[in-house]
């Protein structure tokens, strides 16, 4: 499972990075979204991967750490998701404003050759 997760994170981060470096604003925003997915998965991974373990205390499970998933990264991911979601929405607004003002979706507002 570790391998699958790391390959997934790698693909997401790689695609995100490539898209961020593209000249169109729409590509950049998709790239940022992919990057934030990769980061969110990564935060999960740093809490160690556990299968079928709940982060909530349960009377039937013995009170040892081995029986539980780490709740802190899950809380962190939740916050990170909300924040990145809000930021993406905000960026989308600026993107549309920029498109409206300049009539171009190039990040630098300069088309090559013009």
């Amino acid at each position: 499972m570790e391998l699958v997760i790391s390959i997934t994170i790698g693909i997401l981060a790689g695609s995100g990075l490539w898209l961020i470096l593209r000249p169109r604003t729409f590509q950049v925003i998709i790239g940022l979204s992919l990057l934030s997915y990769a980061v969110n998965l990564f935060i999960f991974g740093m809490g160690r991967l556990r299968v079928g373990k709940a982060p909530v205390l349960d009377a039937t499970v013995p009170p040892y750490l081995a029986g539980y998933a780490d709740p802190v990264p899950q809380a962190l991911v939740l916050t990170a998701i909300v924040i990145s979601f809000a930021m993406t929405a905000l960026f989308l607004v600026v993107l549309l404003a920029a498109r409206g003002l300049s009539g171009s979706d190039h990040v630098d507002r300069v088309e090559r050759g013009s």
Partner: protein, 545 residues
């Protein structure tokens, strides 16, 4: 809990409540909204002065004040910590806030509907970032201040603002990813995100984990360097600050300092626990980055065609110098760097405000490249007109602005007699002292390099600012006079008077910085204050009922 203890959280609560309240007006009833904003900012100023005075007292319990949010003990819950450094930064933020607000009230706040709420949320994010004792909470406050700053950067709209904001947002979103990666690696290795607890864990960290931890710390460091606009991560800053409306740019002057503050804070805490070695960068890393930033900014200043960009590059000079000084290390150097940080932040903010006032009378034709003019025979025309220009009186308003401009130039370049000089002198004298004392009689190459870079950047500042000043104040014949209101001049005056005050009271202020730096150097009081803070259990149940 005694009610006075709750004062620590006031710098976050006040802007939050004020900002929320103002949102209810949906951009209408400007007078009411403006009044709320003024009251909140003044309250913030009062609270930060009280916090600073209390942190200066002899009482050790008050020197580092820990506030447990939700009354959970430090490692489980989130803490706010107010020590001397945090209180100092809070006060600086509040002062800039007051000046910028005063300036904005004259006309700028009408340029968009939500200036006041965004302004308060920005202050909230800044204060939170200075107060928090927890890395993830720091991330949250960073995002709060960034979200507000995106809105403020767009304040007034227009092509240049939208374009530079677009770049700014992309860069900061990418930097936030770095931040999260760094934070999660640190959590994955050390198992905590509380800064003080982190310091204790690091010392006991398994050597095999240690490498991964340091990678995490470095990635985190990159995020902070982006915020501090260090070279080569700071190219977004000059266009953004030049395009932003003046009061916004003035408050933004402290945003780069948040990155510097965190580097200083984490450096101090982890150095104490980690056996002196800085966790963020290899030996000399910060120093090199700082030197590169100052050099880049000095060249950028010379190449600047308009005053807004010039001011933007002066922000880079300021943060680069602080970085290099922190990189040298030592309590004396840190205190000098702190003095420089305060002085330069006030100066740059004043400069941004002043530039907008001066540029107000500019006609579009004036935007011809300054250098181009000098190269292509603008001088010849002047020779012909020399006689007719004799005896033209400088209008009073340009005279007043000119004096303020001169003061800004002196402060930026670090020439006597103002506080910019005191600050740079303190850095240089510490540098020389430190090396002569430590390395028996010779200053290292690094020392000479810093010396040279600081002096040369001062020189280029003089050249660039003088050129801009001559073009603005001595060739005003065909330009309209700017309409300046008293409050706007008052805002610039307030910041400059504070710089003069820093010069006159340099002794006491320097002593304060010295004790602050000593406290940072030790690190231990901070760590033990946070980890040793017990719950205020006996009283609490009664309150919750």
């Amino acid at each position: 809990m005694i009610s006075a203890d709750h004062l620590v959280i006031a710098p976050i609560i006040i802007p939050l409540v004020a900002g929320g309240l103002m949102l209810l007006f949906e951009g209408r009833r400007r007078e009411v909204v403006a009044t709320i904003d003024i009251v909140a900012t003044l309250a913030l100023l009062a609270v930060s002065i009280v916090l600073l005075v209390q942190s200066m007292g002899e009482d050790q319990a008050r020197a580092v004040r820990v506030y447990l949010l939700g009354n959970w003990p430090a490692e489980f819950g989130i803490v706010l910590v107010a020590d001397r450094l945090a209180a100092l930064m809070l006060l600086l933020t509040a002062i800039l806030g007051c000046a910028a607000l005063l300036f904005a009230l004259a006309s700028w706040h009408r340029a968009g509907s939500y200036f006041h709420p965004l302004f308060q949320f920005l202050l909230m994010g800044l204060n939170g970032a200075f107060l928090t004792g927890d890395l993830f909470n720091l991330f949250v406050f960073f995002e709060v201040l960034l979200a507000a700053s995106y809105g403020l950067a767009l304040h007034g709209s227009g092509r240049a603002r939208v374009r530079s904001s677009l770049h700014y947002i992309v860069i900061n979103l990418a930097a936030s990813s770095f931040f999260l990666i760094g934070v999660s690696v640190i959590y994955g290795t050390a198992g905590t995100l509380n800064m003080a607890a982190l310091a204790e864990r690091v010392a006991a960290l398994d050597p095999s984990e240690r490498g991964l931890f340091e990678i995490g710390a470095s990635i985190l460091g990159i995020a902070f360097l982006v915020k501090a606009a260090a070279w080569p991560l700071g190219f977004w800053l000059p266009p953004l600050y030049a395009a932003a409306s003046a009061p916004v740019a003035a408050v933004f002057a402290i945003m780069t300092k948040v990155g510097l503050y965190i580097i200083l804070r984490l450096g101090s805490i982890t150095a104490e626990a980690g056996g002196g070695a800085s966790l963020f960068f290899a030996e000399g890393g910060l120093f090199t980055i700082g030197i590169a930033t100052v050099s880049f900014a000095a060249i950028g200043m010379l190449a600047s065609q308009d005053m807004g960009r010039l001011a933007g590059y002066s922000v880079l000079v300021s943060s680069g110098t602080v970085l290099a000084a922190i990189g040298v290390g030592g309590a004396g150097m840190t205190s000098a760097a702190l003095f420089y940080l305060v002085s330069s932040t006030l100066t740059v903010a004043a400069f941004f405000l002043l530039v907008e006032l001066v540029e107000r009378g500019r006609t579009p034709a004036d935007d011809v490249l300054a250098v181009t003019l000098e190269v292509y025979g603008a001088d010849d025309e002047e020779d012909a007109e020399v006689e007719s220009e004799v005896g033209i009186a400088v209008p009073a308003i340009m005279g007043v602005l000119g004096v303020a401009f001169l003061a800004c130039a002196l402060l930026l370049a670090g020439l006597p007699p103002l506080s910019g000089f005191v600050a740079k002198f303190a850095i240089l004298s510490n540098l020389l002292d430190q090396h002569w004392l430590n390395v028996g009689g010779s200053v290292s190459i690094q020392g000479w390099l810093l010396l040279a870079v600081i002096l040369v950047s001062g020189l280029t500042t003089v050249i660039a600012v003088t050129r801009a000043g001559i073009r603005t104040f001595w060739t005003f014949t065909d330009r309209e006079l700017p309409h300046v209101r008293a409050t706007e001049l008052g805002a610039v005056g307030l910041l400059l008077v504070l710089c003069v005050g820093l010069t006159i009271q340099a002794g006491p202020v320097m002593r304060f910085m010295q004790t602050t730096a000593n406290g940072l150097e030790l690190g231990r009081p901070y760590i033990s204050a946070v980890t040793g803070k017990a719950q205020t259990a006996p009283e609490q149940p009664e309150r919750t009922q």
